[in-house]
């Protein structure tokens, strides 16, 4: 129930509240134009649980970050191309939009050129991102913000139909969270397309991930409040030609992701990679590695455990690996590396199982943290069955699905 813009002007009211057919839930309409920052921020503060903040079509020129801290609010635009929150003139704050409340739905709008992260939701349980676009419009640049869509420390995350481009770290990054679905989304031209970090019960399905440095990453890192990532399914994704040179700032963990990595698993317990189309990722279609750096955190297990690479449709790739000794390796394998690359770290029979008929290469590194120069490459033998992912517990709660069915 968007209000005609001229009515808003005529009323002289900057934020209009109108009762919808549900007596308890209001729709607060906000239009683009002068003073968008204050009007939109006021609407996000004034919203009550159950309300919808309805953003009209147009470009909202914003000078500062926006934030939402009210539970059970929907922020809804007129479409990810029609409603654009433009942060190119942003003066402060660490992200474009920050959400810190539970049961929030964000849908049908775009965030462009945020100076830090695009949309961050922290400690925001049961959040839905639906048909949201986050873009840095100047292409792949180190000065772009780090994360496009960035839920962290949350239980219940559904990201559906999103589009993220240009993030200097990860386009879609879910960190220190659980019960997660990322699906039907497009991640393109980021350093990492989709990254699941220190999280459990994630389902990453039916996404298109292309033109990133690395396609889909599942990492578990030490020294964080939430660790023990795993029980994650990566299936039915198109992971194609992720060949953009790494443009992450040097200190970042993703700065170490080789250009041309399709799916990359670092540490973690329980990951299934199955039914994906993996095509033309020039370093490796699937890479499974231990955390490579020194660490002091005694809670942390740096090795991959129970990683299963099932049947995937694989073609091309491995033809330009960003690895030490790549030329010799390529030569030994007839011009292209096999699709699965393992650093060889982790317990045999527990770390990795490659089913289907995918050939692979193990670097046979001698120990965690060893230099890749010490690799003793050999054909991968990883046919021992490992513990299966518990599919029943993977993915966002069903109630979140219901919210976008409306």
């Amino acid at each position: 129930m968007r209000m005609p813009e001229k009515n808003i002007a005529a009323a002289g009211a900057l934020v209009l509240a109108a009762f919808s057919t549900f007596a308890s839930a209001r729709t607060i309409a906000v239009a683009a134009g002068d003073g968008a920052q204050a009007r939109l921020q006021e609407a996000l503060i004034a919203a009550q649980p159950g309300d919808t903040v309805q953003l009209g079509a147009g470009r909202y020129m914003l000078d500062d970050g926006l934030s939402l801290d009210v539970d059970n609010v929907t922020v809804r635009g007129a479409g990810m191309e029609a409603t654009v929150l433009d942060f190119s003139r942003q003066k402060g704050a660490g992200e474009g939009l920050l959400v810190t409340s539970d049961d929030v739905t964000l849908r049908d709008f775009a965030v462009e050129d945020a100076h830090g992260d695009g949309i961050k939701s922290k400690g925001a349980d049961r959040i839905v991102y639906r048909r949201v676009r986050v873009t840095w419009t100047g292409g792949a640049k180190e000065t772009n913000g780090a994360y496009g869509i960035y839920p962290v420390e949350s239980t219940g995350v559904l990201i559906d139909g999103a589009m993220v481009r240009g993030a200097s770290d990860a386009g879609i990054y879910v960190g220190q969270s659980r019960d997660i679905t990322v699906r039907h989304s497009l991640a393109m031209g980021n350093v990492a397309g989709i990254e699941i970090e220190n999280s459990r019960n994630a389902l990453v399905t039916a996404n298109t991930v292309t033109g990133n440095t690395g396609g889909i990453l599942v990492f578990d890192l030490p020294g964080l409040p939430v660790m023990g990532g795993g029980n994650t399914v990566i299936e039915k994704n198109l992971v194609i030609a992720n060949d953009t040179p790494n443009f992450a700032p040097k200190g970042n963990i993703v700065a170490g992701v080789p250009r041309g990595t399709g799916v990359m698993i670092m540490a973690n317990d329980g990951v299934l990679i199955e039914g994906n189309t993996l095509e033309d990722n020039p370093t490796a279609q699937v890479m499974v590695v231990a955390y490579p750096k020194p660490f002091e955190d005694k809670r942390y297990n740096p090795f991959p455990r129970n990683v299963t690479v099932g049947a995937n449709a694989v073609s091309g790739g491995g033809n330009d690996p960003q690895l030490p000794g790549a030329a010799e390796l390529k030569g030994a394998f007839g011009g292209a590396l096999p699709p699965v690359l393992w650093d060889g770290l982790g317990k045999p029979g527990e770390a990795l199982s490659v089913t289907g008929s995918l050939p692979g290469l193990s670097l046979n590194l001698p120990a965690q943290g060893a230099s890749p120069e010490l690799a003793r490459p050999a054909l991968l033998k990883a046919d021992a069955p490992v513990r299966k992912v518990d599919r029943k517990t993977v993915g966002a709660p069903a109630a979140l699905e219901a919210r976008i069915a409306r």
């Binding site: 503060i45 000078d63 660490g94 920050l98 945020a114 400690g123 770290d169 964080l224 409040p225």
Partner: protein
């Protein structure tokens, strides 16, 4: 001298509030009600707002090391309703009763004259703490609620023109929150003078003067304090409200609280988590002996969104703060 004046003012305010028959003009209804009063005047915290002269019962205080906000002069006040007192909780936050208020005014010199820009209040309501920002008018006669925040163009010392940010209500909470609930950052006993605490206790407004093993150094006297204490005091006052295990930056794993004694937790050889380009080209928050290769001073030395720390409340670099942290890292043994 300034400190003595402040203590005298605190003693006076307390004496006035406790004099027989004295009534405070502060509106307990405004503090405790459900609404957001549109003007600061509605609370009655000041006998003379423009002069920042507090009403009886409103006690001025200062912190040993304060949060730096673009060099603003800050005037802090505590209000405790009649018949109530604060409870000491060791070295940490004073436990303030429902009905209490913390009031902080931000001022800058304009044409040589102190000009009030904004006053932020933290109100302890039955439902919890509420943070509200009020923006002073040009005539300095009243401050109005600015829920969505504001930007103010100011010329600061040295002639630099800045775009000063008055935070919106949510941004108040970004700093003033533990586990997602609005909580005052201070005052903590370790960052208050023993004299002030004693004055409050003798006036019957504090149950006991808490013992403090090691006080946060007084910022103006930092050169007399051990370097590490001065730097950790600065980090406590300027960073730890987000960088603690329940704060807005909990996901970073970086804990800059005064009481954190695990060097890794306060950044020594700790890798960033999700710093993005905030990490610059560096790998660790703090590299002993190498401030030029440490992320902490790098982010303190930037004014660019996405890099600058703190994220809120700063549009220029705090040179003195950067200096103390830089020297602390430089002096660390490798």
């Amino acid at each position: 001298m300034k400190r003595l004046l402040l203590l005298a003012a605190a003693a006076l305010a307390l004496a006035a509030a406790n004099a027989p028959g004295a009534a405070t003009p502060v509106s307990d209804a405004a503090i405790l009600g459900d609404s957001f009063p549109q003007t600061l005047g509605a609370f009655g915290f000041f006998a003379d707002g423009a002069a920042q002269k507090p009403a009886p019962g409103v006690v001025p205080y200062r912190l040993n090391t304060p949060l730096w906000s673009d060099g603003a002069e800050k005037l802090r006040f505590l209000y405790l309703p009649p018949g109530t007192k604060a409870l000491a909780r060791g070295e940490g936050l004073l436990d303030l009763p429902v009905g209490a208020a913390l009031i902080k005014t931000f001022a800058f010199p304009v044409n040589g004259k102190r000009t009030l820009i904004e006053t932020r209040v933290l109100l302890h309501r039955a439902s919890g703490w509420v943070a509200l920002p009020y923006r002073w008018n040009e005539a300095q006669t009243e401050a109005r609620l600015v829920l969505a925040g504001d930007r103010v163009t100011l010329t600061i010392q040295g002639g630099q023109v800045i775009d000063y940010a008055v935070p919106n209500k949510n941004q108040c909470k970004e700093c003033h929150a533990l586990s997602g609930v609005v909580t005052p950052i201070g005052p903590k006993a370790r960052n208050l003078s023993a004299t002030w605490l004693g004055t409050l206790q003798r006036a019957g407004k504090l149950d006991a003067v808490p013992a403090v093993a090691q006080r946060v150094p007084v910022w103006e006297e930092r050169e007399k304090a051990p370097l590490a204490l001065a730097a950790r005091g600065y980090l406590e006052a300027n960073c730890a409200h987000c960088h603690n295990p329940q704060g807005s930056a909990s996901n970073s794993g970086l804990d800059l609280r005064w009481e954190q004694d695990d060097a890794y937790r306060y950044g020594v050889m700790k890798r960033p988590v999700a710093a993005g380009r905030g990490a610059g080209t560096f790998e660790f928050d703090v590299v002993p002996g190498e401030p030029a290769h440490s992320i902490l001073p790098y982010r303190m030395g930037s004014t660019e969104g996405g890099i600058a720390m703190p994220e809120l409340g700063r549009s220029v670099i705090d040179l003195a703060g950067s200096d103390i942290v830089t020297r602390w890292i430089a002096a660390m043994k490798r």
